[in-house]
């Protein structure tokens, strides 16, 4: 005697976004913590040392936050005008920042007052950074110069004027203390070598450069500007590798994740995009305002995003540990041990084995289907919890009833209340392409069955009115879509070269096959 085969609930993945490992990784952040700063957040920099505090430059202050603190643990407020580009030294003990007035200040991380002040720039300094030996500071300014300063003596070592517009991007090399990359509003990215005292490489970005970034191997260089993100191969003498156009407004910042070196870019269009190693967007974070700055903590623990409205939004990574504590608090009932009790017993060689037949557990609607109680099975499938959180189960039962030829019987003989349930379910799901076919059938049968008595119930009548309206709207939409398809077809036909007329293969199939992994 074969056992009863339960109703098969078809799992149909929603079309569109595909779930990949990358999306899962990047989705695994808690909801952002918002912190209000005094002005637009222009620079965020993580300390390379283990607590991984981060310096946030906004308005006339630089705040240093702890990784999990919501209040600044230190702030540097001795700026008379807007501060820019606060960044840590390689040992995390010193911090350098430029300002609107052209001064560059150097702070000890534990002090308040500037240790050094480098004067010489005649206009605002937007970008400052330590060179990798730690004894020199490089700065780029709106006065078109790039200067290198000696930290111990606070004197200018050299000054280069090669850019023809504001310098707004700077990235020192971590491997060579004499190299740094600058990007400017004159659409160029230049690589400077302090040993020769001039630029050794120039790349044309084509738009005002907002940010430059070196890969850890320093063979690849990322520059952003305009709506473009461009990757350059430095080993090939600055050849353009890829040009990405995934944002629809100026891309203001870029950074690399420390796990797998994924590129992240933030833009004025309020999105942070994550690229995989073949430069396809794998994930997207939405923010409330235009993004000016962004940084990722080592190990991707924290993603901090600064915005024009002065809000700093910080996302922390979820950990398994957190989840477990949550669930353990919630869980009640018997433990896992109870269920496996005796199941993992290994019989010895000469033991006599009495096997107990495994009991088949069936869902309630399956039990009812097994005993041919079709109406009850439909009722069970239409219970509030099932129909709201698992509509596919409800639809699976409807399909099964139809296959058995008893859908009409199951729908017949219902009162106003249960009919309302069915109609509400139809209203909600009839346009879901996964469900529309069986649900349209249900609608037909309901109309057939209750045509005579519909006018007796105003509630049902109103629901049917609504159903008719939405159906009409959907029909119009479909028609428009078909028209668009027709237009596209003619376009493609005129584009395809004559000899390849036979193979329409290049066309994407819009009713793409719905796949289901078993």
């Amino acid at each position: 005697m074969a056992s009863f085969k339960p109703t098969k609930v078809q799992f149909l993945p929603k079309l569109g976004e595909k779930v990949t490992e990358d999306t899962l990784y990047w989705k695994n952040y808690k909801s952002p913590v918002q912190m209000k700063e005094f002005g637009a957040v222009t620079k965020i920099d993580f300390s390379p040392l283990t607590p991984h505090n981060y310096a946030v430059t906004a308005s006339t202050r630089i705040h240093v936050y702890g990784l999990h603190s919501q209040e600044p643990i230190r702030s540097f407020t001795r700026f008379r005008d807007t501060a820019y580009g606060g960044s840590f030294r390689g040992d995390g003990k010193l911090l350098v920042a430029g300002s609107e007035e052209g001064l560059i200040r150097l702070f000890d991380i534990s002090g308040r007052v500037a240790l050094r002040q480098f004067t010489g720039h005649s206009k605002a300094v937007h970008v400052t950074s330590f060179l990798s030996d730690g004894f020199r500071v490089v700065s780029g300014s709106d006065d078109l110069t790039c200067r290198v300063w000696d930290v111990p003596s606070a004197v200018e070592i050299s000054s280069v004027t090669e850019h023809t517009d504001y310098i707004r991007a700077l990235a020192p090399s971590k491997l060579n203390p004499d190299l740094f990359v600058t990007g400017s509003y004159d659409h160029t990215v230049k690589v400077f070598d302090m040993r020769s005292g001039s630029s050794v490489m120039t790349m044309q970005h084509g738009h005002p450069v907002e940010c430059v970034l070196l890969y850890p191997s320093e063979a690849l260089l990322v520059s952003t500007g305009g709506r473009y993100v461009k990757i350059w191969d430095l080993l090939k003498g600055g050849q353009e590798l890829v040009s990405l156009k995934n944002h629809h407004k100026t891309v203001t910042c870029a950074c690399l994740s420390s796990v797998g070196n994924k590129l992240l870019t933030g833009s004025l269009d309020r999105h942070v995009k994550v690229y995989n190693s073949s430069y396809k967007v794998v994930h997207n974070f939405d923010c409330d305002a235009s993004i000016l700055s962004m940084a990722v903590a080592p190990d991707d623990e924290v993603l901090a995003v600064g915005m024009t409205n002065g809000v700093l939004s910080v996302r922390h990574r979820k950990h398994k540990k957190d989840k477990e504590t949550l669930t353990s608090r919630r869980r009640r009932g018997p433990s896992y041990r109870v269920f496996v009790k005796g199941k993992n017993f290994m019989p010895r060689q000469d033991d006599f084995l009495v096997s107990k037949p495994v009991k088949q557990y069936l869902r309630k609607y399956d039990k009812q289907l097994k005993s041919f109680e079709v109406s009850k099975a439909l009722d069970t499938a239409l219970q509030t919890w099932t129909r709201t959180s698992k509509p596919e189960v409800t639809v699976a039962v409807i399909i099964e009833l139809n296959r058995r030829g008893t859908l009409k019987n199951a729908l017949a003989g219902r009162n106003e209340e249960s009919l309302t349930k069915i109609l509400n379910f139809l209203l909600k799901h009839i346009f879901d392409p996964r469900f529309s076919r069986p649900l349209l059938m249900v609608g037909d049968i309901v109309l057939d069955l209750y045509r005579q008595v519909l006018h007796q119930s105003p509630v049902v009548e109103r629901l049917l009115q609504r159903l008719m309206e939405v159906l009409g709207r959907e029909e119009e939409l479909q028609q428009e879509l078909l028209q668009v398809l027709g237009i596209l077809d003619t376009l493609f036909a005129s584009l395809t070269p004559r000899k390849e007329v036979a193979s329409l293969a290049a066309l994407p199939v819009d009713q793409g096959p719905q796949l289901q992994a078993a």
Binding site: M1, A2, S3, F4, K5, P6, T7, K8, Q10, L12, K18, T20, E21, D22, N276, S278, K280, V282, L369, E400, R403, R404, G405, A502, S503, L504, A505, L507, V509, Q511, G512, P513, Q514, L515, Q516, A517, A518
Partner: protein, 836 residues
């Protein structure tokens, strides 16, 4: 024309075992059922097929135990004979020639020496009517007796044999036709008839479908078309009869059966539920649901401990009286139509076709045994007449048997068609196929054909559909995740001028794909999806399509609906040859260049076997059968034959099976093969009447050896030495001392077991089998020895040849010798036994 002397068409395996009710022997150990032109004997305990009673020349239409001797069985056949068998030994005792085709047989304890038979009424009236006749079987010592003493009982019987039954102690016989129930009383020699109205107000359908009589009470149970069961009482008086009605079945009741004590009534119908009604307790019943196909017959053993039901899916279920299924005997399932092609599972070499609704069945042709069913649809099948449910309509294996693609369809009749394309991967650990991918909307319209590519590295599936497109499916890397997916996705969609594709085929090395669109064949390169060329030979739509193999791989063969068989040379893209022949099925032999074409002309089918490089047939066989053939398959042989006869050479590497429209599986067999079949038909007869004690085992074996030692010149001496070795030693060590025979007896055995046998190498499996056989039926062995002594003619021939040419035996000869040695002559023993 080629001589066709030794190739002939034979029916092979998988015949119906549900044609007539099975019967259980009185001791409940054997189950007998009519199957094709033989009666098969199964063991009820192990469900193994023991042997078959062969001798009829036409369909066996009924079997009944001889009421006088419970070890004998009557069988009647459409060839007009009734045969009496000893079913345990499989011996034909007597043949009674009746002279009319027979359709059912009934016996009763009261009427000894008389059998009741259904025969077709004499054909003077055009309407074919059935007649129930009583035949007195003459007592005589001869083997073949003519029984001409027919006396008609009634001519108002239905052709359905379950509409006739004997009443209490054989006092009356009840038979029904349409709306009339007749009871014939033997003592009064009178027929009473009772009739029902065709319908009543509630729309009941009152036609009788089956009948059963209570064994101890005057009560007749009748089943009706609308599922009602009526219990008739008091029918001894013509007017004052009464009946009560019980209704559970919602479709026609197919069968009714009282248990031997009469306490319960069993009924079964299309629902596939066995219902047990308590007799005299109104509506009290037990049910046993989901037994398989709809129930056709129910029968009980004479002690009432076992029931067996036979089902429409060619299955017999053995059920204990506690309503627990204890055994299933499954034959080759042949529904109304085989929708899938006949296929061969490349791994198990089993024949694969759709069987049970929603399943694919794997059937071993070699052993004529059903291996297993693979559930494709995975839905509860509702046994209800006229319900449209999912059916497996297409299936395909890839070359190595690692992937299986299936298409299931629902709604052939109605307008909204539902179908799924499923891909199954072979799982090594479970040794079966596991669902990998389900594609719900593979095409927008019905899938017409599909095939796998056969290249080594990648597997690709191509499907063609009625909407005018073909799609290629691959299991491969997803561009977005850059991970190896293990499921399948669409790789390419192609079409040709919006024409409807008809068939598709990959070349042998998978470098080319041919897709036929109506009259045009398009050749594609699967690597670049470039349309390479088109071939066309109007008129007529392309039907079958296949590439040549091996040395003929440059040819492409196609058949059209307009009776044309074309062969293109793919190097020149020109038509090589074409011939006008109506081909209904074109089948390629995967192991050779040969192509078989079944052609249907003027009411009969011919077979042509040819190589693509020449239009002359290699072999032809006229009038294979009278029906059109749509399904055929080449089955690779286990070991190739080495027949050098020109006409049968094409069968050397594989065997051609085909399915007729009557769902008969046929094959072509050659003379050499028949020899082999004979040798391999050695069967395992389990005789469990003798308790198998270790003592018995040892003694029995000892006795055999003694015989062998006594007669060293006996032909049996060249039988391989009985495999002992470790078996003997373990027996010796593990048997308690008090049951062991004397040490002197054991000693010689023990020593001989240590000697290395000089009969050459045998594979260990074979040894194992033989040794187990020895243990199981030591007694059988005795008769075998005897038989071998009597039948020395054949053996001597073998012996002689051994003596003459021992030093220079070729491999083939050696094999031939071995075969002769293993030949079973137990049937001879039967003859010898029955003579005195």
């Amino acid at each position: 024309m080629v001589e066709q002397s030794d190739v002939r068409v034979v029916r092979c395996g998988g015949s119906k075992i549900n044609f007539r009710p099975p019967i259980i022997s009185t001791d409940s150990r054997f189950l007998l059922c009519a199957s094709g032109d033989s009666v098969k004997v199964y063991s009820t305990r192990t469900e193994e097929w023991l042997h078959s009673l062969q001798g009829h020349t036409n369909q066996v239409t009924g079997i009944a135990l001889n009421p006088a001797n419970h070890l004998q069985v009557y069988s009647c056949s459409a060839d007009g004979t009734v045969k009496l068998w000893d079913f345990i030994d499989g011996i034909l005792i007597k043949t009674f020639i009746i002279g009319h085709p027979l359709f059912a047989i009934y016996v009763s304890e009261k009427h000894e020496g008389i059998v009741f038979l259904h025969i077709v009424m004499d054909t003077e009236s055009k309407k074919e009517g059935f007649q129930l006749v009583a035949v007195h079987l003459p007592k005589s010592a001869e083997q073949e007796v003519e029984a001409k003493e027919l006396s008609a009982v009634s001519s108002q019987i239905s052709p359905n044999p379950s509409c006739t039954a004997f009443g209490r102690e054989g006092q009356y016989i009840a038979f029904a036709r349409n709306l009339q129930l007749n009871v014939y009383f033997f003592r009064k020699q009178k027929t009473y008839s009772f009739s029902l109205k065709a319908t009543d107000k509630k729309g009941a359908k009152n036609a009788f479908t089956c009948i059963a009589c209570h064994p101890t009470d005057d009560c007749i149970a009748t089943g009706h078309e609308d599922g009602k069961i009526r219990l008739w009482r008091n029918f001894i008086h013509k007017k004052e009869y009464t009946y009560s009605t019980q209704h559970w079945h919602h479709n026609a009741v197919n069968t009714l059966c009282f248990t031997p004590e009469g306490t319960n009534l069993l009924s079964g119908g299309i629902e596939s539920v066995l219902v047990q009604w308590q007799y005299g307790a109104g509506n009290r019943k037990e049910i046993l649901p989901r037994l398989g196909g709809s129930i056709l017959h129910v029968s009980t053993s004479s002690d009432g401990q076992l029931f067996c039901t036979s089902h429409s899916d060619n299955k017999i279920t053995v059920i204990e009286s506690s309503f627990k299924v204890c055994g299933v005997i499954q034959g080759l399932v042949k529904g109304d139509a085989v929708l899938t092609d006949l296929m061969i599972d490349p791994r198990s070499k089993a024949l694969v076709l759709n069987g049970k609704p929603g399943h694919l069945q794997f059937y071993s042709l070699l052993r004529d045994k059903h291996l297993y069913n693979l559930d494709i649809v995975q839905q509860e099948y509702i046994y209800e007449a006229g319900l449209d449910q999912f059916e497996v309509v297409k299936a395909a294996f890839d070359r190595k048997g690692f992937w299986l693609a299936t298409v299931e369809e629902r709604g052939q009749k109605s307008s909204d068609l539902e179908f799924f394309l499923k891909l199954w991967a072979y799982d090594e650990s479970t040794q079966s196929f596991v669902l990998n991918t389900t594609i719900t909307a593979a095409h927008t319209d019905r899938i017409i054909s599909m095939c796998f590519s056969s290249s080594e590295e990648t597997t690709m599936l191509v499907t063609t559909a009625e909407e005018g497109q073909f799609k290629a499916w691959c299991q491969g890397v997803d561009a977005d995740t850059e991970q190896d997916q293990n499921f399948w996705s669409c790789d390419f969609v192609g079409s040709y001028h919006n024409l409807k594709p008809t068939n598709c085929s990959f070349s042998a090395d998978s470098s080319l794909l041919a897709v036929s669109f109506q009259e045009v064949i398009t050749i594609w390169s699967p690597d670049t999806w470039e349309l390479l060329t088109t071939l066309c030979q109007p008129p007529g739509v392309i039907r079958d399509l296949c590439f040549g193999q091996l040395s003929c791989s440059k040819y492409l063969i196609a058949t059209t609906t307009e009776n044309l068989l074309c062969c293109w040379n793919l190097l020149t893209c020109a038509l090589e040859w074409s011939t006008s022949v109506e081909v209904s099925k074109l089948q390629l032999d995967p192991l050779s260049e040969n192509v078989a074409a079944f052609s249907y002309q003027s009411e009969h089918t011919d077979l042509f076997v040819f190589k693509p490089n020449e239009p002359r047939p290699l072999f032809s066989h006229k009038n294979v059968c009278s029906e059109k053939i749509h399904r055929a398959v080449f089955v690779p042989r286990e070991e190739p034959l080495n027949s050098c006869d020109e006409s049968s050479q094409w069968l050397n590497r594989s065997q051609l099976y085909f399915l007729t429209q009557n769902m008969d599986l046929m094959t072509f067999s050659t003379a050499t093969e028949e020899d082999r079949l004979l040798s391999s038909s050695r069967r395992l007869v389990i005789d469990d009447s003798v308790a198998v004690t270790p003592f018995y085992l040892l003694l029995g074996k000892h006795r055999q050896q003694q015989q062998k030692l006594d007669t060293p010149s006996h032909p049996a001496a060249d039988k391989p030495q009985q495999p002992q070795g470790s078996v003997t030693i373990t027996e010796l060590l593990h048997t308690p001392a008090h049951v062991l025979p004397a040490a002197s007896v054991l000693c010689s055995m023990f020593v001989s077991s240590l000697l290395i046998s000089n009969t050459g190498v045998q594979d260990p499996l074979r040894k194992e089998m033989e040794s187990s056989e020895q243990e199981m039926n030591g007694e059988e062995e005795d008769s075998e020895e005897e038989m071998e002594a009597c039948d020395s003619q054949q053996e001597l021939r073998a012996q002689g040849s051994v003596d003459e040419v021992t030093p220079k035996l070729s491999k083939a000869q050696e094999r031939e010798l071995k075969r002769v040695r293993k030949t079973d002559f137990s049937w001879m023993a039967g003859l010898v036994d029955s003579k005195p």
